[in-house]
């Protein structure tokens, strides 16, 4: 079957790639574009490890068909840092020991960024519900929530 040509903006750059229509955006990002930051934990939208921003909305890329990304703007974890300078969320995750194995971390960073852009001063409960779509099995979420709280403070001060 002939593959479809898709043009997107990914992490600020215009990127194009070929894909089968039924391929997920997650697989297209990982296999065609070479961005392996987004992870496949379940493939059914239940774990959030594949989270990306698509047109400024946090989304499970495993539930998006790659052709839907044509003309869209996408942000993955690889695009969070600005010319090598870490985003406050990335820095706070490191300083707060908010990751152990790290497989869920890209998804959490994207989801947390989406939260803080919508709600710059969230309560602990708001953070926990906004991140309920991201599973972590290592940390018990405690240090992740604290890292997001700390990043929110730093981002408000900027």
């Amino acid at each position: 079957m002939a593959r479809t040509h898709i043009t997107t903006v990914i992490n600020g750059d215009e990127v194009d790639f070929l894909t089968e229509d039924s391929t997920s955006l997650l697989h297209a990002l990982r296999d065609e574009v070479g961005l392996t930051g987004a992870k496949e934990g379940c493939g059914t939208g239940d774990c959030g490890a594949c989270s990306v921003l698509m047109d400024d909305r946090v989304t499970c890329s495993c539930l998006v068909f790659a052709p839907e990304a044509d003309g869209a703007t996408i942000l993955t974890v690889e695009g969070l840092a600005d010319s090598g300078e870490l985003h406050p969320l990335q820095q706070c995750f490191l300083e707060g020991a908010a990751l152990q194995c790290g497989i869920c971390t890209p998804g959490f960073l994207i989801a947390a960024k989406a939260l803080l852009e919508k709600n710059p001063d969230p309560t602990e409960t708001e953070i926990r519900y906004a991140l309920a779509g991201n599973l972590c099995r290592c940390t018990g979420y405690d240090k992740i929530v604290r890292a997001v709280q700390e990043a929110a403070i730093q981002m408000r001060e900027q």
Binding site: S24, V58, A132
Partner: protein, 275 residues
């Protein structure tokens, strides 16, 4: 495009479609992305009604203050369809037409008398949302029809809705029991209008007329609510499955019915209706 193939199908957020394909359901050979049609991703209102595109992501409903204040129950129900990631993609149209008995938005849509504008090769028609789902995974639309948008009449004054569900965790679960309620008050503070619909306790959403009858003319006092709860439990026709048992669903349907009615009542008492 829908007519082009017997297995052609529309989709909006694909949040049920993708897991179904991965789970071995037959894969459609043609998928039509409804989000590309502006009308289907719109959200607007006029003096008479709100119009919600069938493929409008539910996050836009929960973010819309005016909509959420007028229909807190429907807004909360839409917001319960999964995580923030899912909310960017899920839609009322998808949630309804997937035909799950446990769909969170359906009881809230039915209590609010929401209507669906259906389009197909033979033209369009308007039907009640209550008439769309005919059984688990089955809808009354023909395979070449789809829902364009939903119409919701403006909420009258002294009237309000509520939706509650029971899940084992705090998020990310399919409803074990869902209850939507809408209460309208007369000037003397007694109930003039009552609609109660249960989800996840029968093949399709269940309207509990006996509970509604008991509520009319009352102030939803404890005795009336006990009747409401009993009627709700009685109206269930649930199954035992990996998410719940018959006994649990029947018992908790009664509990949620009472609680949803109480919340709708409190909201109705506080609302002046800004239509």
């Amino acid at each position: 495009m829908l007519s082009s193939s017997p297995s052609a199908q529309v989709f909006a957020g694909a949040t049920d479609l993708v897991p179904q394909i991965r789970g071995g359901y037959p894969t459609p050979d043609v998928l039509v992305d409804l989000k590309k049609i502006d009308q289907l991703v719109s959200l607007a209102n006029d003096a008479d009604k709100w119009t919600v595109g069938a493929a409008t992501p539910t996050v836009r409903l929960t973010e819309d203050q005016a909509f959420s204040q007028e229909f807190p129950g429907l807004s909360e129900a839409a917001g319960l369809i999964g995580s923030d990631q899912i909310q960017s993609r899920s839609s009322l149209g998808g949630n309804l037409c997937n035909g799950s008995p446990a769909a969170d938005s359906v009881p809230a849509m039915v209590v609010n008398g929401v209507r669906a504008l259906v389009a197909g090769p033979k033209g369009s028609r308007v039907i009640d949302v209550a008439d769309v789902v005919t059984g688990p995974g089955e809808i009354s639309l023909a395979s070449d029809e789809f829902i364009v948008e939903f119409e919701i009449d403006r909420m009258p004054s002294r009237t309000a809705d509520a939706y509650l569900r029971i899940i084992p965790r705090t998020e990310m679960d399919i409803a074990v029991v869902g209850a939507g309620a809408r209460i309208g008050l007369s000037d003397d503070g007694t109930i003039a209008e009552a609609v109660l619909v249960l989800g996840a306790v029968a093949p399709t959403a269940v309207r509990v007329h006996a509970a509604e009858d008991a509520l009319i003319g009352s102030t939803a006092d404890d005795d009336t609510l006990a009747v409401v709860a009993a009627a709700a439990s009685e109206a269930c026709n649930p199954i035992d499955d990996k998410r719940g048992t018959i006994a649990y669903r029947e018992q908790v349907a009664g509990v949620l019915a009472k609680r949803a009615v109480r919340i709708a009542m409190q909201r109705a008492e506080q609302s002046n209706g800004d239509a």
